[in-house]
């Protein structure tokens, strides 16, 4: 195993009942790179994410991770300890704390850095006060970094979608992660917002030195920011390499566009109406 490997997945397999969601997926994420998972819907990308953030446990295989105290097996850690190991994530469909202000959300992101216990909190001792001020300073740094000053005291429930996306990114940054998992950072964003997102991802990688692992569909964003790309389909690995290599891989093209054989088979079906119609065939 290479020394600069931050996270290494080996033979990950997940089975939900009869569905093989992820089948023998192995990859290494190197320190400081932007690593992207792509693939059509149902390819198992988000499942891989949920394995890393310990929401799911793999049926087979394991993930090793270079934590603050040396290399550990991530798949044996309890879910809530993932954040303190330096892994933060965002969600595909935004999971913010709706009935709290943006600042409040960011401060929740500082939870793993809390310096007090409940008893100290009850009396709000000087130690708690000091920690609170420190947390606020860090949150303000992130607010500055992502330009959220205007929304600091706004309740999340009233924010537009694009801003929520940024708030979620900000909250993840507040945990001071080593590895940032972004689940479709550009979904639902317009062209300008997607460009902003691309800049931020580059800044996060280059200025903050955070390794980014993301799932993304927007190929222009992927090729702009990614160092390496892993393409998946139906839970299997298709291709891995630079964005250009992966985009030109025949297997990837087939997964997205279908093969020549598929097209010709469709043509035949249209000509013979007695057999199953093409839509039903592809659905099956």
């Amino acid at each position: 195993m290479m020394q600069d490997t931050l996270l290494s997945a080996k033979d990950l397999t997940v089975r939900f009942g009869g569905v093989l969601a992820v089948n023998k997926v192995s990859f290494d994420v190197r320190q400081g790179e932007v690593f992207t998972l792509i693939g059509p819907n149902g390819a198992g990308k988000t499942t891989v994410f949920n394995l890393i953030s310990r929401i799911y446990t793999p049926t087979q295989g394991e993930i090793s991770y270079l934590g603050p105290k040396g290399r550990i097996t991530l798949t044996q850690q309890p879910p809530q300890s993932v954040a303190s190991l330096g892994i933060a994530r965002t969600f595909q469909n935004i999971e913010l704390f709706e009935h709290a202000s943006v600042l409040h959300n960011l401060l929740i992101g500082r939870h793993t850095h809390r310096a007090s216990n409940v008893l100290q909190d009850l009396f709000f001792t000087p130690r708690v006060r000091e920690a609170e001020l420190k947390a606020r300073e860090k949150a303000e740094e992130v607010i500055e970094f992502l330009g959220l000053q205007h929304y600091r005291d706004t309740f999340v429930a009233g924010l537009p979608y694009g801003v929520r996306k940024v708030v979620e990114l900000a909250r993840a940054l507040c945990t001071e992660p080593k590895l940032l998992l972004l689940d479709e950072p550009s979904s639902g964003l317009n062209v300008e917002e997607t460009d902003d997102m691309a800049f931020w991802i580059q800044d996060i990688q280059q200025e903050l030195g955070i390794t980014v692992l993301m799932v993304e569909h927007d190929m222009s964003l992927v090729s702009k920011v990614s160092d390496r790309v892993l393409a998946m389909n139906q839970g299997e690995m298709l291709a891995m390499g630079t964005p250009r290599e992966v985009q030109n891989d025949p297997g990837v093209i087939e997964a997205y566009l279908g093969s020549i054989d598929d097209v010709s088979s469709l043509r035949r079906k249209v000509n013979s109406p007695t057999e199953a119609r093409p839509a039903e065939r592809t659905a099956a």
Binding site: I55, P79, S84, F97
Partner: protein
Amino acid sequence: MRFIFKTDYAQDIKLAKHGGQVFWYSALMLLMFAAPWLFAEYWLAQLTLVLIYSIAGLGLMLLAGFTGQFSMGHAAFLGVGAYTQAVMTNAGVPFPIAMACAAGLSAAVGVVVGLPALRVKGIYLGIATLSFGFIVEEVLARWESVTGGNAGIHIKKPDIFGWVLETGNQFYFLCLVVTVIATLSILNVLRSPTGRAFVAIRDSEISAQSMGIHLAYYKTLSFAISAALAGVAGALYAHNLQFISPDQFNILQSIDLLLMIVIGGAGSVHGAFLGAIFLIAMPQVIAQVKDFLPAAVGQAPGLQGLVYGLVLIGFVMFEPMGLYGRWLKVRTYLQMFPFYRKGMFKRQKSFQKSDRLK
């Protein structure tokens, strides 16, 4: 309209955010401390009851309003506190120690009840806590050697290391001090990491967990703190009535407590107090109005239940934020006069949340 000019991060963690709050809360405290000289004995007794219910309400508010865990058996914690207090006081234990034990025992029971909360959510948790309430009521009725069974139990006057609180005024001050301490503690918890963890669990468990919040620990903790406050309220409740029996801690009491939170305004500390005022004042109002109604309506049994039900339905439909939400609107209206717009508090459409991970 007030604009707060912020120059320091410490400003945001202060309890009183601006001079106006300092003034009004000081005025309120002055009024509360002067109350025994201002109000007749009967009204002071009602005020004492409001304070006691406020303490229980604060606990339930933390649990239901801030952690999002509904408890339909909260009267059970009240009962555990009340009976602990009664048994210990009658055995000659001084008031502060007895009350600490009442809080501690209630908290311990709260931890046990919190355990199903780690597995079940929403309405199922409601049913689990509801059945727990029945169990406690039954235990209080059957364990006659300790609780005196359905015949109830008398409790002596509170005795603070030899200083016996004989009069209603003295007891009122005791309740007031306990309420102030409880309120400050809750406010402290809410502005610290622990309180934020509770709010995080309420709004999204999945992302709370990915922020490193230990769900089981914080849910149990919330149940424990909530139950401890109910226990304290129960202890005061026992002293207030001087006689307790199991039927005071039945499902109706639990529903009253929950009603108090919803009508006061779930998710606000003020709501606990406003709810308590509502709960104590409403029977008085109904009693006053009764005389002016035709006998068929005024003397009908269940009038109070009907009014409570209607009020609750009204709040759920028209003011989900409760009395406190209504007050916020009134205050904004006054502050912004004449620029208040009707749609100002209208909730914006929420975006769909992920169902995938639930």
